[in-house]
Symmetry: C2
Subunit: 301 residues, 2 copies
Amino acid sequence: MDSIRSLNTIVDFALNTGKKRLVVAVAQDDDVLKAVKSAVDYDLVSPILVGDGYKIQALAKEAGLILTDSEIIDEPDNGLACLQAVKIVADGNADILMKGMVGTAQLAKVVLNKEFGLLTGGLLSHVAFFESPHYHKILCVTDAALNISPGFNEKVDIVKNAVSVYEKLGMSDPLVAILAPVEIINPKIESTVHASMLSAMQKQGQIPGCIIDGPFALDAAISTEAARHKGLTSEVAGNADILVVPEINSGNILYKSLNFLGGAACAAIVAGARIPVVLTSRSDHDRSKFLSIALAVAMIP
Amino acid sequence: MDSIRSLNTIVDFALNTGKKRLVVAVAQDDDVLKAVKSAVDYDLVSPILVGDGYKIQALAKEAGLILTDSEIIDEPDNGLACLQAVKIVADGNADILMKGMVGTAQLAKVVLNKEFGLLTGGLLSHVAFFESPHYHKILCVTDAALNISPGFNEKVDIVKNAVSVYEKLGMSDPLVAILAPVEIINPKIESTVHASMLSAMQKQGQIPGCIIDGPFALDAAISTEAARHKGLTSEVAGNADILVVPEINSGNILYKSLNFLGGAACAAIVAGARIPVVLTSRSDHDRSKFLSIALAVAMIP
């Protein structure tokens, strides 16, 4: 496809790739279980829910999710539930890992344990897709959640991970805008330095499969009018697919701003591991959690 | 007033404080002149436009702004026009300084020159008011434009400047949320450390006239549902008036996100100088520039 127009496109894409096995670590969360129910109703996943079996049964019933005994693994301890869920994926008995009612750090620690073979050597990074009423296509924001203050090499991996997600959705050469507060290179503002280097690397063929430009302030990246007003001539300016944020403060703010002050819908996964990981925020809605499961399903051919 | 509900409230407030003298540095910009025309039509300001006289005349005519000879000071050189405009303010011949078609750095250099006596000893900082369709009152974002990476003492000044703007608008004890990517204190994430210290300082009476809490991710600061989901009990959570951003990357992104992906309207000034400075972005709309002039007018009793 030429560009991704809506999050429903991702659901359609997921439906075409077929049903996957989803394991949830610490699954006793009502929004998570509502999202799993939607994914089951769409025939996108067969679930394995690890956590407090009693609570999972009760919340699943409330959510209208009917489970067989084999779909629940009773492990009330959160740390052990994370371990169990990751082992299920590591043993090839599930295709997707999803975080439930547990801190990101606690689950990440297990995923990052080399013993389980889920790492590929690249960085793990968070890739979020937004459908905004104020933009003409899906806007990808990365990394808004995982890497606190990525250095230059980490930024390269962050770009590559996002581009690989687009590739898996059948879209080539997404337009990547490297965000900064200004469009000029200011050695005092690291984001502008990173932007100039990433842009140059792409032009030298070191980062294939995408078109990178920047530094751009957000307006220049997504508004053709703002880009024109600023005198920018770039095929990325005003028309970006992927926004690479400078670090976690700005990424988290953009993510939350789109969700809570922008009327946008969201789907997000962690890319860079051997399997897609669904890692939604506690305050995300269940629709967003469902869309994230669909995005994860779409990642597996 | 208890809280500020809309930007029109600020225009009304400005109308009540009476007409002010506005000097624009490098005034040859169509959006700036359209905004000045609106402010003149509202009888909010009498303008002095410093810059390329020929271009100013032509653009003013296009904007429907009728000027007398004494309202234009012909100075085609941008540096000298900035100098001239600042001198007019310094000599007490204008109440408000506005940036036209010139870089922020070029104008700031002159404002920051101690010789002109515009400084008060405190930090200059950018204070922006947003009217968002997704929030129940005006949301203030600071500092989204001026201070690149403010240290702790600068953050204190940034809070004080924003609080003083609320005071001038007749509103006491605004709720100040210090933003970070998470709600826990993580010594590796400076924004969370700053938040804990600012919050403690306010409770100790060191920052009067406001109620400070944090660290909050953006959602916890502005969504009662997100705050509840995260188990936060704070009168600031979900109901913030002022959002203090960690640094310029995140501030600029929030500012642009609200403007370009949030359908919000905006008014902004620079606070902390002896006079209010209007410093809009090139990509801001003329309505936003007009509202910023109104906010500056409202700052002067």
